[in-house]
Symmetry: C2
Subunit: 161 residues, 2 copies
């Protein structure tokens, strides 16, 4: 009885340890990859990851995004989205337009020049991502994608909590 | 011949698409989890993830860390590590001490109060992580851990590049 309890305890402790180890490794991989992309964007395009991220979100939404939507969609910053938008607008890469669905509000869109520049960066960025994941075979990438999908689904189910 | 080329093209395009999809999903999962931990730290301990992260790094290094080492080890911020250290020092959770190996320099350490508070938060934090990964079975977590290990190894091999 004591042995069984002890075994259960050990198993639980291992399970717990496993989740933390997994989470720290996931965070490490994500940080390594964003770190590499960050420095390559700087070296190759003299730009930052938050700026690239903002342009990427706008590229996926040609109808434009409100500032609040844009902030929510950003993948790599919790920082100053208004400040980044101001900079990009001053450089002619994005513009603010009156929101047709709410004339007191505005949406942010790519300019043609912003779209052209983002397209150029996105193609090179895609090459980097392919290279950074080259350590995994196509089958392994598929498995990793599926496992992360299951994790994401579980996390979505907790959305309200 | 044309068909074979076309097939190769399609397969390459799929492979490329796969790496980007995988990376975006990994980033999404990481963001969801840090988002949840961020809001739970705020609600339960009125603290932030960068503060928790800084205490966690010091807890692993009882001998103390130089500011430069601390900055490098942080998992969740590229932000103001000096500012966070100043705050935590003012609250009596960390202290700066002369570095015994270089008396012109200093290291940061947890105070006994900082160690006590971090221990309390770390136990609760571990429970959250276990819960957030509960969507995966123990075997699936093991597989995910191994795949991320392989990815990490590949990324480490690229360290000099």
């Amino acid at each position: 009885m004591l042995t069984m309890e002890k075994d259960l305890e050990t198993r639980l402790a291992n399970d717990h340890h496993q989740a933390i180890k997994l989470w720290l490794r996931m965070l490490t991989c994500t940080n390594r990859i964003t770190g590499k992309i960050r420095s390559r964007l700087r070296e190759n395009f003299k730009t930052t990851l938050p700026r690239f991220d903002l342009l990427a979100q706008l590229e996926r939404h040609p109808e434009g995004l409100k500032m609040s939507e844009l902030s929510k969609r950003m993948m790599v910053t919790t920082g100053n989205v208004t400040g980044i938008t101001d900079q990009l607008e001053a450089e002619g890469l994005v513009r603010r337009e009156v929101d047709p669905s709410d004339r007191r509000s505005f949406v942010v869109k790519l300019t043609p020049e912003g779209r052209r520049l983002f397209g150029e960066m996105a193609a090179v960025h895609e090459g980097w991502v392919i290279e950074l994941f080259e350590g995994l075979s196509s089958e392994e990438k598929e498995t990793l994608y599926a496992l992360l999908g299951k994790l994401k689904q579980h996390l979505n189910g907790k959305e309200a909590q």
